[in-house]
């Protein structure tokens, strides 16, 4: 038995961020990662001989600036130059695409002048409103039972920011806050390609369609993120997402963190309501003053702590966290780069989105409610090897796509459904990039079921819990316990299941570390 001050369970990006931030205060921190590699869902892996890809998360669009600063990630190899900002290309089957350039469409091309003007206004408005919510990302959700002076003050700040909008803008903000994205787009835009793209972005990673009330929040969440100081900007890191995690790991190790891989934790040891250590799969026991779980909250409490040590109401709440993913990941090894109709060379290096209209996204969503996959799925596609040739053999190409909707609990089961779904995806791709099917050397489709097994993410849900209004802020992961501490003394949460949620942001990890430091944990 060894002893350490702090043990972090899970070497995903949030675990490493939390570990680094804690180690910087002089704590002795040990990170335990079950897999042979750190990074969790933010990894670069070889999926076919000579082909490497960011296996799950494939774009960097919300790494929190506080994380970059606190961990000095630029010193550890992370670069986010404006020149790397990727455009978003809304593909169209029967016409030219529409392209959002720069940081989420600073310039819009392929649309009518009136649409460009409408977009300019809408974009500014969305960024303004997302900006109101942005400060919440780096804060602990307020404690309803007894708000501290500091928390009340931070709410006051938000109210003040709201006031600064001006009366009419504030009224609109309050009106649209919980609206569905499709209606808002219909109010302000005309081009269904643009509306389709935004509808897709608002609902990506959640079990919502663009007509579902509150779906606009998804767009705010995206736009509250920033890259290289620009809200809404996205990049493809050189070397894939694994490189980002490598930078975070380097920062953590420099701060003195010890990282053990291939070290799965079997359980968290609780004595008299207090977490005192962990037992490994090997039976070895490691004791620590503070345990930080940067993995899924349901796994943490139902598997590692176990229901016997926690209260029934809490078990209920944890079980009620909806975490059945709808997003699949497609990795294709292609013998040559594909040609998407009407898209120029710069566009191919961007994010290519198949979401022809909000109605199309909605129709893709419908079957997922009943445990069926979308017959005409929507997806975002990147071709990372175009910008980073090291990812594929010379002349060949990697295609990486996030595809919706692929419900975790597929009625017919994924064994039977997977080949059918792959066929549906390939049919969609073929329609936008004729001939792509023939260039496939190897296809890897990771359904939520696969993602669950391979990346230990229950339900294959990349947010570790739906990022919907009723699972946000004070209700994330569960009401009463949204501030990173848990009913078990000395046990903290630091993963995407906690506020503010998923995406490679590091914010839950950093916020959790700040809370632990404040609690002198």
């Amino acid at each position: 038995m060894t002893s350490s001050e702090t043990i972090v369970i899970g070497g995903g990006h949030n675990g490493l961020v939390a570990a680094a931030a804690l180690a910087k205060t002089g704590r002795k921190v040990l990170v335990l990662e079950a897999e042979s590699e750190v990074g969790g869902a933010a990894r670069t892996e070889e999926f076919a001989p000579g082909f490497r890809v960011s296996s799950i998360a494939h774009l960097l669009n919300r790494l929190h600036p506080d994380v970059v600063k606190a961990l000095e990630l630029d010193m550890h190899g992370l670069q986010c130059a404006r020149a790397d900002f990727m455009p978003s290309v809304a593909l169209s089957k029967d016409g030219p695409p529409l392209v959002l350039h720069g940081a989420y469409g600073e310039v819009l091309t392929g649309a009518s002048p009136s649409e460009q003007a409408a977009w300019k206004e809408l974009r500014a408005q969305l960024l303004r409103y997302a900006g109101i919510l942005k400060p919440f990302l780096s804060r602990r959700p307020p404690d309803l039972a007894g708000m501290s002076l500091l928390e009340t003050a931070s709410f006051g700040q938000a109210a003040l920011a709201l006031k600064k909008l001006g009366k009419e803008d504030m009224r609109d903000f309050l009106r649209v806050l919980l609206m569905n994205v499709a209606d808002l787009l219909d109010e302000q835009l005309a081009d269904i390609r643009l509306k389709g793209l935004l509808a897709f972005d608002a609902t990506l990673g959640s079990h919502l369609g663009p007509r579902s009330p509150t779906s606009l929040l998804g767009l705010y969440y995206r736009l509250a993120g920033e890259t290289g100081g620009a809200a809404g900007a996205q990049i493809q890191p050189q070397g894939g997402m694994g490189a980002v995690v490598a930078a975070i790991r380097a920062a953590a190790e420099k701060a003195g963190v010890t990282v053990l891989t291939s070290t799965p934790v079997a359980r968290i040891i609780v004595e008299k309501g207090r977490a005192v250590g962990v037992a490994l799969d090997t039976g070895e026991v490691l004791r620590a003053r503070t345990i930080v779980s940067a993995i899924n909250p349901a796994t943490t409490f139902l598997d590692l702590v176990g229901p016997r040590q926690i209260d029934t109401g809490f078990v209920r709440k944890v079980k009620n966290v909806r975490m059945k993913g709808d997003a699949a990941k497609l990795n294709l090894a292609l013998d040559r780069p594909p040609q998407f109709s009407g898209v120029d060379a710069a566009g191919h290096k961007g994010r290519l989105v198949i979401a022809p209209s909000p109605d199309h996204v909605e129709r893709a969503f419908n079957p997922s409610k009943y445990g069926e996959f979308s017959p005409e799925p929507v997806m975002e596609i990147t071709l990372p090897s175009l910008a980073d040739p090291s990812l594929a053999p010379s002349g060949a190409c990697v295609l990486s796509a996030v595809v919706q909707y692929a419900p975790y609990a597929l009625k017919e089961g994924w064994d039977a459904g997977k080949p059918k779904f792959l066929k549906a995806i390939m049919a969609q791709l073929e329609a936008y990039a004729p001939g792509i099917g023939k260039s496939v050397v190897h296809a890897e489709l990771l359904t939520p079921d696969d993602i669950e097994t391979r990346y230990r993410m229950p339900g294959g849900h990349w947010h570790h819990g739906e990022l919907q209004a009723d699972h946000m802020l004070i209700s994330r992961p569960v009401s009463g316990w949204s501030g990173y501490d848990t009913p078990i003394e000395g046990l903290f949460l630091a993963g995407a299941g906690s506020h503010p949620g998923g995406g490679v942001s590091g914010a839950p990890g950093l916020n959790a570390a700040r809370r632990i430091i404040a609690m002198k944990g």
Binding site: A145, E168, L178, Y370, A469
Partner: protein
């Protein structure tokens, strides 16, 4: 009813033209000859009449103008076939505020509400799940399907009751403007804040979740059986253009649970004589207090001069003058059809245009020559005297909604079916029955085009065939049928897009957002022009609260006493 007040109208001058240019031509003498009402209410729906009653009782001289030859709006009972009285649109009563019934002495004018005895969802395996009023029978009934769910009901009821208690007092208050620093708005905000702060941390969290959850997800946290979830989920979708899996439908459930029948919170009942009895009583109360109603008088537009409402111009060109004008019509009809664009600020117009008012329901009213039989249901079941449904899973409800999104009526519709004559024999000849079927979903347009008569027939057939599946011989009992799609509802009642709530009940259109931000206190950008319909807070259903709250604001502006208006009943 039309013409009975005709004597008064001799005083008015009719003008052939309706533009403001003509208004300017009116000479001083002409003005002097004309009567100016203290208030003109556009539309004799229940809210218009409630508003009119309160204003008249405050000493104002009030005129109600109604386009149809009868009053009632969507709370009306007409005899479309001899001997049968229909509840043509709204068909059940629960939400109507008891404070208003008392203030306006509606029982004296004939209003009487009879509680349901139960209800049921028929299941496709030949069984049914009933709702019984008796708590233990209710539990035993649920236990037939799941012992767990039977015992889960109390906690569910507790949580829903807690939320209702939080929201109910807000119905009879004007929503505060959160952007305003006026003492009254700050005071109301403080009231809300205090109410919220009075909740336990657990309740607060639940309240916040309640406003954003789908009814399906909410029910998943309590129940395991599909038909039991469907049984509760239906209250989350009635009247809305949302499916049970849409976030926000948990709130809609509250909206339907907030009512009461004689102190029995959440109870539903029939108005004796059909829902028209509500507005008949209101009209009688109004007239008894000296008010004037003119039916068959469609308003073409509101007269506006120097930014102030001066009266209305009828479709025939006749001008009626009023010191203030109150519109019971929905916000879109009022400001996009009845008021000239130039009188309204751009931002207001933009918000009105963006107001969501998509119809989602239709109505099939059926006169029957005998009581239909449902072989699944014992003949002595109280369910006959309650509401009946055939949608036994949340998934079926949601799929019905998918049809709506695609611009189709639901192939497998959700029905809320009642036979009021089982409790109220006044509505049909002895032994014969009136059946009301509320149907979801029916979109305002069919695949982007107007409804046709063939569409309407197809819609009706989807309803009849569903009932006939559970009630053999049903078709043979039909004497007469009235089918209302959103097209008919809009044409007759004037509800834009056939939306029965005068606007969808989503968070962006509730409280201080209803109908539009900045004008959620019954006033409008036009001086002297007020709103009192369900487009305003707290929204639709035969509740009367918008009409009452609007009257309170008008009287406040006129610096008149509101002592004849009861405060909201205590929730203790």
């Amino acid at each position: 009813m039309a013409g009975q007040n005709g004597g008064c109208y001799a005083k008015f001058r009719a003008f052939g033209n309706r533009s403001r240019k003509n208004e300017e031509r009116v000479s001083r003498e002409d003005w002097a000859k004309m009567k100016a009402w203290d208030a003109i209410i556009i539309g004799g729906g229940h809210n218009g009449l409630v508003n009119a009653c309160y204003l008249q009782r405050a000493g104002l001289d009030v005129l109600v103008v109604e386009k149809n030859d009868w009053v009632g709006g969507a709370a009306t009972s007409r005899e479309l076939t001899p001997g049968f009285l229909y509840s043509n649109c709204s068909y059940v009563c629960s939400l109507f505020r008891p404070e208003i019934m008392r203030d306006l002495e509606l029982p004296r004018f004939g209003l009487q509400v009879i509680s349901y005895e139960g209800g049921a969802v028929f299941t496709r395996d030949g069984d049914y799940l009933a709702n019984y009023r008796d708590h233990d029978a209710h539990r035993r009934e649920f236990a037939r399907f799941s012992k767990r769910d039977a015992e889960a009901y109390d906690r569910y009821a507790r949580d829903v009751t807690r939320q209702c208690r939080f929201i109910q007092p807000l119905l009879m208050r004007t929503a505060p403007d959160p952007t305003s620093l006026r003492p009254r708005d700050l005071g109301e905000l403080l009231y809300l804040g205090k109410k919220f702060a009075g909740l336990s941390a657990e309740e607060m969290a639940l309240t916040l979740r309640f406003w954003t959850m789908s009814i399906s997800e909410f029910l998943d946290e309590y129940f395991e059986t599909d038909v039991i979830k469907a049984n509760f989920a239906l209250s989350g979708i009635i009247g809305t253009a949302l499916g049970p899996m849409s976030p926000g439908t948990a709130y809609v459930l509250l909206h339907h649970y907030m009512g009461e029948v004689d102190g029995s919170v959440g109870a539903w009942g029939y108005a004796r004589g059909g829902m028209g009895a509500v507005t008949k009583a209101l009209a009688a109360a109004f007239k008894a207090s000296g008010g004037t109603i003119r039916t068959g008088a469609e308003v073409d537009h509101v007269l506006v001069g120097r930014g102030k409402a001066k009266g209305v111009v009828l479709a025939g060109g006749e001008e009626l003058y009023g010191k203030l004008v109150v519109s019971n019509a929905d916000v879109k009809r009022t400001f996009l059809k009845l008021v000239e664009e130039k009188e309204l600020p751009d931002i207001f117009l933009r918000r009105v245009r963006n107001f969501k008012i998509r119809g989602s329901s239709g109505k099939v009213n059926i006169a029957l020559d005998s009581l239909p039989e449902f072989p699944a249901l014992p003949k002595d079941s109280p369910v006959y005297r309650g509401d009946m449904h055939f949608t036994d899973s949340v998934e079926r409800m949601e799929r019905a909604y998918d049809d709506w999104k695609a611009g189709r009526w639901s192939a497998d519709p959700f029905l809320d079916m009642v036979i009021p004559t089982t409790l109220d024999p006044t509505m049909a000849p002895p032994g014969k029955h009136f059946m009301s079927c509320f149907v979801q979903y029916a979109p305002p347009k069919i695949a982007g085009a107007e409804w046709t008569d063939a569409d309407r027939d197809g819609f009706a057939e989807s309803v009849i065939s569903q009932i006939a599946e559970y009630s053999p011989g049903f078709r043979d009992r039909i004497v007469h049928m009235e089918v209302r799609t959103p097209r008919e509802i809009e044409a007759e009642v004037g509800l834009t897009e056939g939306n029965i709530f005068q606007g969808e009940l989503t968070f962006d259109q509730l409280l201080f957002n209803r109908p539009v931000p900045g004008y959620a206190q019954y006033r409008s950008p036009v001086g002297g022009l007020y709103m009192c319909g369900s487009s305003t807070h707290p929204g639709g259903g035969v509740m009367g609260a918008p009409g009452r709250n609007a009257a309170a604001e008008i009287l406040r502006d006129l610096a008149k006493s509101t002592s004849h208006m009861s405060a909201a009943h205590d929730v203790i």
